[in-house]
């Protein structure tokens, strides 16, 4: 039991550390695209530490609870996603559970937003929830296809099914689905062009507009963990997972940097344009992929 708790904590802290590192590296890479040097890769650590030293102001219980719920929801999700060889819960059906749990973080954010009472935040969170409608549909279709083709809904099962070599990766098996899933991943992570929920120039960073100090630190950590969770999930599902933690991290990094780079050269969609976009080509492609796989 104690070992278990220790494992939880280790896992959570490593994920935070890894996520912040990823964010730092992405900033550096994007800076290079923008012809500049960019911050040091360890900058996000400092940002979070600094935010913890700041005073912060609460907007009531719901606000606090929402923040904790968002953070907790994401940490919980982490326990169900295998990161390389580290698997905490590997039971059957985790894939759908993970998808569900990821929504908890958003709900937490929504609660915090209601607590803060800022119109910009509410616009932001309503956008986030609207956008969820968009990317989840093709994503679910792809996942169902995946479950169908792997004959399991457990993430571990899907990973194991790809273990026998590069040619068994779902990237090769269901290439169109992978592409669709990647696009959905962009929305899932709130990367451009699907970052309408946090658009600084429109709604001043949206849901987190009233978060300062420690609250913002939690939101940043939550974001860091979500980066790890989401990229890990993608690697697990399509890039063959990995028993070697280093190879796994490299795979995650590639996925993450690809997303960051795409984000650097595209502006953001309007939220309904984003939703319509998902419902058009990705959905058709996902269905097409399903048809190909099933028949």
């Amino acid at each position: 039991m104690i070992l278990n708790i220790f494992g939880f904590l280790m896992m959570a802290f490593s994920a935070m550390a890894l996520g912040l590192l990823f964010i730092g590296i992405a900033r550096k890479v994007v800076a290079r695209v923008q012809k500049r040097i960019g911050p040091p890769f360890y900058q996000p650590y400092l940002d979070v530490l600094k935010l913890f030293t700041k005073n912060s102001i609460t907007h009531g219980f719901i606000f606090d609870f929402g923040a904790i719920m968002a953070f907790g929801g994401m940490i919980t999700t982490l326990f169900f996603v295998p990161v390389g060889p580290f698997v905490l819960y590997g039971m059957n059906g985790t894939l759908l559970l993970v998808i569900y749990l990821m929504a908890v973080a958003y709900l937490g954010m929504a609660m915090a937003t209601v607590g803060s009472g800022n119109p910009l935040a509410s616009v932001g969170i309503s956008r986030a929830l609207t956008q969820m409608l968009g990317y989840e549909l093709p994503f679910i279709v792809v996942l169902l296809t995946l479950i169908y083709s792997s004959n399991t809904s457990s993430i571990i099962g899907i990973v194991q099914a790809q273990q026998s070599g590069f040619m068994n990766w779902n990237l090769i098996n269901i290439p169109i689905g992978t592409a669709v899933a990647f696009i959905a991943l962009l929305g899932l992570m709130g990367k451009k062009p699907f970052d309408a929920p946090v658009a600084p120039s429109e709604i001043a960073s949206g849901p987190v507009v009233e978060h300062g100090g420690k609250y913002l630190a939690f939101i940043m950590l939550q974001h860091a963990v979500s980066v790890v969770v989401k990229t890990a999930l993608f690697v697990d599902l399509f890039l063959g997972g990995g028993n070697n933690i280093f190879i796994f991290i490299v795979k995650m990094l590639i996925v993450w940097l690809l997303a960051a780079l795409i984000g650097s050269i595209f502006p953001r969609f309007k939220v309904e344009e984003g939703v319509l976009f998902y419902w058009r080509w990705p959905l058709i492609a996902a269905l097409l992929q399903a048809v190909i796989i099933i028949f």
């Binding site: 800076a31 290079r32 695209v33 012809k35 500049r36 040097i37 650097s264 050269i265 595209f266």
Partner: protein
């Protein structure tokens, strides 16, 4: 709309920057050099700066304040103030640098100054800027960004050929347009006021001319100077030699502007403009001895205070040296009369042809008057006393000039040598040239002076004009002997080279080089080496103190005898403006003396 090219892959071209060097400048490790012309922090050459305050005037933001500094040079024409710049106001527009009259204020290329203390953003620039470092010079003025008007309006003058024909006034004076343009050149720094012996409100009356308000100008002028027609023509204009514009360009023609202002107001208007139609009278009497500039000035100001004034004058007309010393081509008599008439109109009584000490004694005057102001001037010529000066054909300039004014016949020959390098020498040389031209049709006057041309006390323009009129110069030569031929007439003047005029203590002590001897042919010699006064009328009854050759006075011109005040050339000078000043001073002194 379909014609707009678009592709998902086009923007991906940007990824090539991943493999390029970033364009970021790594401040602070590598600092980009600013452009040569960058407007950074100010520096100021404190020795060159004259404290004129023009920078402070042009400043849009009142960012420049002139503050007094103790350890700066303060020669004549320099104030002990230096600009203090407030970087809580400055906008680095550079107008101050563009207009700086001396060019002492400059920009550096340094631009970083950060401090938590807002109080530290004001500083006095010297050769180091606000960071206390020396930095490369940044922005500099060039002729396109010049904000001053450096060149004066050329004064219309008679040409040399026609002016040498007669005693007509040479300078024609400004037209209205010219005067306004010239007046606009003034930056109103007030440094001239400090240099003016009479402390005239020069910027104010120039401003009046610029604003087309000559009445205001006249008022300002009469504050300190009751003889503007005279000063507008023959003043030694110390103001112009230190004019702040003159550091980079030509001084404002202050003298001509004054002349323009008074020339263009009718004498009949004076009383109205100056508010002297009715003067409150005081029942005290003051005697003034001598109707020269000092006497007239004192008479004017005392009259305005209401005293009963009597002026005693040895000659038959008022004006003193202004009339009898200065030739008509420089100061026409009608202009002089205009000034004098105004003073007469105020109710000043003149008694002409009365020589003090001869026709009336000082003690007689003292009996009748409550106070006496003596301004008898320097009316006697000095002689070089070299061998040959006792000859009949050796004259002294001061007497000749008086004779010319009076219209008397003066001795004239074909080859004349004038000894002396001052303005009197020029006056006599040029007068003689005119007379020669009239009589013989040609000019042959030679001026020798101890001083070389660069240190000659005469005005440069006088020398130039004399030269144009045909006067020859042999500067830097001392007279050694006048060689008289056997028949008693002068044949030559022998001169030696003057090595230096002043000794190390700046005392007059010329040294000569006897190897370098030059003889010039001539048949008449005029000495113009200075004048002396005659104070013998202050007879032995009175115990009066002297300071060197001059009467000792306090700052109100009061001599050691409380009722006797002295002024003019016998105290200070010799020139008109000092005379006016001492007259004005004495008026105040007498007023104080009589009130107590």
């Amino acid at each position: 709309m379909s014609k707009d090219k678009s592709s998902i892959f086009s923007p991906a071209v940007s990824f090539k920057n991943l493999f390029k060097k970033p364009e970021t400048i790594k401040v602070p490790e590598e600092n980009k050099k600013t452009a040569k012309r960058y407007r950074g922090f100010h520096i100021n050459d404190l020795d060159k700066c004259i404290g004129c305050g023009t920078c402070s005037k042009i400043c849009d933001n009142k960012a420049i304040k002139m503050v007094e500094l103790e350890n700066v040079k303060t020669e004549l024409g320099q104030r002990n103030e230096r600009p203090k710049i407030d970087y809580g106001r400055c906008c680095w527009c550079g107008l101050c640098v563009d207009i700086c009259t001396t060019g002492s204020l400059q920009f550096t290329q340094d631009y970083t100054y950060i401090n938590h203390d807002a109080e530290s953003f004001s500083y006095i620039p010297d050769n180091k800027n606000i960071n206390k470092i020396e930095s490369a010079i940044g922005y500099e003025r060039d002729q396109d960004s010049e904000l001053l008007d450096l060149y004066r309006i050329e004064m219309q003058e008679l040409d040399a050929e026609s002016r040498v024909q007669s005693f007509m006034e040479i300078v024609k004076g400004f037209s209205k347009k010219q005067a306004e343009k010239e007046a606009s050149r003034c930056v109103e720094c007030d440094i001239c006021t400090e240099a003016c012996p009479a402390s005239m409100n020069i910027p104010e009356y120039i401003r009046g001319i610029y604003d087309e308000d000559l009445e205001e100008s006249l008022k300002q002028i009469y504050e300190d100077n009751p003889l503007p027609e005279v000063c507008g023509r023959i003043c030694t204009h110390n103001c112009e030699s230190i004019c702040s514009i003159s550091h980079r360009g030509e001084a404002v023609s202050i003298r001509w502007l004054k002349r323009y202002a008074v020339d263009n107001v009718d004498l009949a208007e004076y009383n109205k403009i100056l508010g002297t139609e009715k003067i409150h009278q005081v029942d005290k009497k003051v005697a003034i001895i001598g109707a020269g500039p000092a006497g007239l000035s004192a008479a004017h100001y005392l009259k305005l205070m209401g005293y009963q004034i009597t002026v005693f004058e040895a000659e038959s007309k008022a004006g003193g040296m202004m009339r009898y010393g200065i030739p008509e081509y420089r100061l026409p008599y009608d202009k002089l009369d205009k000034d004098i008439n105004y003073i007469k109109n105020l109710g000043v009584e003149f008694k002409f042809n009365i020589r003090i000490g001869k026709d009336i004694s000082l003690s007689d005057i003292k009996k009748e008057y409550d106070a006496v102001f003596a301004a008898t001037g320097l009316h006697n010529g000095r002689s070089t006393r070299i061998p040959g000066t006792e000859n009949n054909n050796v004259y002294q300039a001061i007497y000749l000039l008086k004779q010319i004014t009076k219209g008397e016949e003066i001795p004239l020959t074909k080859k004349i040598v004038v000894i002396g390098g001052g303005n009197v020498a020029m006056d006599i040389a040029r007068s003689l040239a005119r007379l020669q031209k009239k009589k013989y049709g040609q000019v042959n006057v030679l001026v020798t002076s101890l001083e070389t041309e660069d240190i000659m006390p005469a005005d440069q323009e006088e020398i130039e004009e004399a030269r144009e009129e045909g006067v020859d110069f042999e500067p830097g030569r001392g007279p050694k002997e006048i060689i008289v031929s056997e028949d008693g007439s002068i044949s030559q003047i022998c001169t030696n080279c003057c090595v230096s005029v002043f000794d190390d203590d700046m005392n007059f002590n010329p040294t000569f080089d006897d190897q370098d001897i030059q003889n010039y042919e001539c048949d008449m010699v005029v000495e113009a080496i200075g004048q002396a006064g005659d104070n013998s009328y202050i007879d032995d009854n009175y115990d009066i103190k002297y300071e060197g050759p001059r009467i000792k006075v306090n700052d109100k011109q009061q001599t050691s005898l409380p009722w006797l005040f002295a002024g003019g050339d016998i105290v200070r000078g010799p020139d008109v403006i000092n005379g006016i000043k001492t007259g004005h001073n004495a008026a105040q002194g007498i007023d104080e003396f009589l009130k107590n």
